[in-house]
């Protein structure tokens, strides 16, 4: 068989796979088939303690596999097919482009230190400065394609949309404020020598690949993300199943509703580091147990980024900047939680 035909067949098969995955999601929508776990906290009481995680995972995966499959395939495809060279070219051109790229492209980057750290430093070094870099850093974990899809499918698309918007505002505010602080400026100065980076740059001649190889590369990246995220996700689900089963509703109702609820949720959302995506599932359980939607929003916003990234980043920008954006992010999480609660009457 000649090479051209083999390539065509491979391309067709890969495209078919992608369409099937998309089709599954669309089909589940049309049939109104729930992709979220269906177990209610009360259902757990009939199981012994060691059976709880097993049944919860079974329930979760019997419904959630379509959503998970789609999310990982989409994440891989988006990362492979986004216009990397264009981003590379415009990144350093001006402050406004920097902010727009930092915030606008964050949804295409999935939480992974391989993609986050280089971009953060790239934005910082190539001319856009510390503001857009911080914007990107805060935006990426809050609004990447995996978390948007999971929040939308498991909680609600309204919350997912609100989460994206408020994260965007928070990220831009934090970026602008930090770029105005003396310590932010100091770091910016330290990292910029004033010359146009493109003048000294080496050639970038990216090799173009045929479509089938690109698709394979995209699916490989998706599989890599699965390998990185799924083990922690599973552990997280086990923990969530116990929270759902044993957390008394009175405690949730008392501490996770009203103004106190927003404050508590924003505070525990931060330091309580949960693996990627687990915050969505845990948020859903707490919502079922009686947490208010306002508190849920604060909780989702309070999620920190990858610890590995934070460490790498703090080595570059130092603790004053880290502290500033943590405070801004926290303040925004409280204010937007309260605002959302007041506006929708769900405090």
């Amino acid at each position: 068989m000649d090479e051209k035909l083999t390539r065509q067949i491979r391309t067709a098969l890969l495209l078919a796979f992608v369409f099937i995955v998309v089709g599954l999601l669309v089909y589940s929508r049309i049939m109104a088939y729930s992709l979220a776990p269906t177990m209610k906290p009360a259902d757990f009481s009939k199981y012994a303690w060691y059976e709880i995680p097993f049944y919860y995972l079974l329930d979760y995966f019997s419904h959630g596999w379509i959503c998970l499959l789609f999310a990982f395939v989409a994440a891989g495809l988006v990362y492979e097919f986004m216009p990397k060279q264009m981003i590379n070219k415009y990144m350093g051109s001006s402050k406004v482009t920097g902010y727009a790229l930092g915030a606008g492209f964050a949804p295409f980057f999935t939480v992974c230190s391989c993609t986050m750290v280089p971009l953060f430093t790239g934005i910082l070094y190539t001319g856009a400065g510390i503001g857009p870099a911080i914007t990107f850093l805060l935006m990426a974990p809050a609004a990447n394609i995996l978390t948007i899809l999971m929040t939308g499918e498991l909680i609600s698309w309204e919350i997912a949309l609100v989460r994206v918007i408020v994260s965007l505002v928070t990220a831009v505010v934090a970026g602008v404020v930090i770029s105005k602080t003396p310590w932010g400026k100091a770091i910016e100065k330290e990292h910029q020598t004033g010359q146009n980076p493109s003048a000294t740059q080496q050639t970038v001649e990216i090799v173009k690949l045929p479509l089938d190889d690109r698709l394979i590369s995209a699916l490989r990246f998706g599989a890599y993300l699965v390998k990185q995220i799924l083990p922690y996700f599973l552990l997280g689900l086990v923990a969530v199943s116990y929270v759902s089963a044993y957390m008394p509703e009175e405690i949730v109702e008392r501490y996770l509703t009203g103004t106190i609820g927003v404050l508590v949720a924003s505070v525990i959302g931060g330091p309580l580091y949960t693996p990627t995506l687990v915050e969505v599932v845990l948020g859903r359980s707490l919502l079922q147990l009686g947490m208010s939607k306002a508190a849920l929003l604060s909780w989702l916003m309070g999620q920190p980024y990858d610890v590995a990234n934070a460490l790498a980043v703090s080595r570059i920008v130092r603790w004053k900047v880290v502290l500033t954006y943590v405070l801004i992010a926290w303040a925004c999480s409280v204010s937007f939680g309260l605002l959302y609660g007041v506006l929708t009457g769900s405090l």
Partner: protein, 89 residues
């Protein structure tokens, strides 16, 4: 006899995907040694200012052959690396 410089870009500490690129390059280097092509493999920290300024790489893993960035944001296969190195002047 020719010498080709291959530079692998990645964050420090190295992430899994960048290590995979380096391993592929090493395998190719082993193979090409018999044909008289020496591949000098270097690692560059993508979080360093000098590297970003010089190469303008924003997506890791990346690979430069003789100081020209050829691959960005994905893991190239061994065959592809071999082609790139053979094509390098």
């Amino acid at each position: 006899m020719k010498t080709v410089k291959a530079k692998v870009f990645g964050p420090d500490p190295p992430c899994y995907r960048c290590t995979a690129v380096k391993e592929n390059v090493q395998k190719v280097a082993e193979k090409l040694k018999n044909e008289g092509i020496t591949v000098e493999i270097e690692r560059a920290n993508i979080a360093s200012r000098e590297v970003v300024k010089k190469y303008g790489v924003l997506f890791s893993p990346a690979l430069a052959v003789n100081d020209a960035v050829k691959i960005m944001g994905r893991i190239p296969t061994e065959e592809e690396i071999e082609r790139l190195i053979r094509a390098a002047e």
